[in-house]
Amino acid sequence: MSLTLNLLRWLVFITAALVMNFPVLSTLITSLKTSAEISSNPGLWVFKPTFENYALALQVTERLNIFAYLGNSLAAASIGAVLPIILAFPAAYAVARHGYGRNFLLPVIVNLRTMPLVIFAIPLYMMYQWLGLLDTRLGLGLILTIVNLPLALMVLVNAISEIPEELDEAARIDGAGIGHIILRIIAPVCRPALATTAIFGFIMAWNEFLFGLMLTTRDAVPMTVGASFFFAAAGGGVQWGVAAAVMIIAALPPVLLGLVMYRQISNSLTAGAVKG
């Protein structure tokens, strides 16, 4: 009885894993086929595996430059991962230690997670035009910061709340200023939470598409938007093998981070949902 039930569980798990990951698996397989094989064999088996699609994907042409997209994503997502922490950490301290903003500031920021940010897209576009931030990595990074702020604040408030208060009181009695307490005493203890927040924020920022599409045109195009360029047929139609290779390259950084850090990331993903 228990054995059959267990077998059934494995069956369900494997089915779910294959179905949910089907687009990625199938794209990975296609990326390893020659273009001749792609048109003759659409199935999920590669008879003559090749890396030529990856070589072609990495080739810089006048129209397409995957290194530029990757670099843009790396720069913008790094800003979007680190800046929210710098902005939210002091505020999180005030919230966690002194209950500051619990009634207004905290709920407002946390609820931003459920605000469709497209609402602000048009004024932001105009503001960026005036400020010269359109089509810049910094401009994109600043938007990604907004996207990541709510979760960063929530996770950091939770993390600081768990640190015993005696720690900063002792430092205060020794005459330490607030800057010293936050940077030298609280931050080191929070290191795991800070790392998780940064990595989760990086994944979210790397995967963002809407603002990348609207606010960049040429110089700061991120990978998610750049990948779609490979689908715009040039001359002989879409090169599916190359497009598949590009998508695998684009998906690799967040997926690898996610696989390695799944435990911490599952905590960030569900932060606020279970606790707040």
Partner: protein
């Protein structure tokens, strides 16, 4: 005295995040409000003329706006429901596997790590009628394959795509809530002779109900504001039948230059979201007190 010192200190500590939000959301919100009541085009961006409620009237009279609202609402409700039901089943049924081998969760979390825009692009390949593996096998096994992105099936296709990517989110939440049920509660129920089905229905499910509500709400909002995967997969195609509200705003601004429409639609969305959030906050506080 101590209070006063803390107050100043708190204000300084909160200043960076507050100033940043005022600049990047507060200012745009004000611009949104002004523009929504103005006659505005790309020529007079800096000196919009007030025009009362014209923009709102234009949006509310626009069939495309209502079409987009209906799409977003239906999309949000159906995907959230499907994700929660499948996620709940998987979380509970597979929990013995996850308890013993937590890394199995990582495999099911993988879809969430891929950008929705990228997943949408991947489906262009997967569903392609000549080179896509899915139509290929459907032809091979059943002799027929639907045209997944055709006008009759595209809505269902999009629902399935969204659900497959985000069911893991619901699963994760429910698994954590399921694990958080205290062992004593289960033991007490076992002593009372509860069978596993009854235990789930009368004890475990009620305990998980708040998390179920939260998961549904988060997934509904994300489904309602969907953009990336739908946009890359269908654009505004299929006769505009797959235009979500986010896509409507984007197209009104970037494609047809109807800034007034786009901004008024944004404001309507903003107000509706705000009302929903306030109502939900009240409900939550009442539930917490009860």
């Amino acid at each position: 005295m101590v209070r006063a010192r803390y107050f100043n200190e708190n204000a300084v500590l909160a200043a960076p995040i507050v100033l940043f939000l005022l600049a990047f959301l507060g200012f745009p919100a004000v611009v949104d409000i002004i523009y929504s009541f103005s006659d505005v085009s790309f020529e007079n961006l800096r000196s919009p003329r007030l025009s009362g409620l014209n923009n709102y009237a234009a949006v509310l009279a626009d069939d495309d706006f209502w079409q987009a609202t209906r799409f977003s609402f239906k999309f949000g409700v159906i995907t959230a429901l499907a994700e929660c039901l499948i996620g709940l089943f998987l979380a509970v049924f597979l929990s013995p596997l996850f308890n013993k081998r937590p890394w199995l969760l990582a495999i099911l979390m993988m879809p969430m790590m891929v950008a929705p825009a990228m997943v949408g692009l991947m489906y262009r390949l997967v569903l392609h009628e000549f080179i896509g593996p899915l139509p290929h096998y459907l032809y091979l096994w059943f002799g027929d394959s639907p045209s997944f992105l055709g006008p009759d099936t595209v809505f269902t296709t999009l629902l399935v795509i969204e659900t497959l990517q985000w069911t893991p989110f619901a699963l994760l939440l429910f698994y954590m809530a399921y694990q958080a049920i205290p062992a004593e509660v289960r033991e007490a129920a076992l002593v009372d002779g509860a069978k596993s089905v009854r235990m789930f229905w009368y004890i475990e499910l009620p305990l998980m109900l708040p998390v179920l509500g939260i998961a549904f709400f988060i997934r509904f909002v994300d489904g309602f504001r969907v953009f990336d995967n739908v946009f890359v997969l269908t654009g505004s195609g299929a006769g505009g039948s797959t235009t979500s509200l986010s896509i409507y705003i984007y197209l009104a601004f970037f494609r047809s230059g109807k800034i007034g429409n786009a901004v008024a639609a944004s404001m309507i969305l903003f107000v509706v979201a705000l009302i929903l959030l306030i109502a939900l906050g009240k409900l939550r506080r009442r539930m917490a007190r009860a």
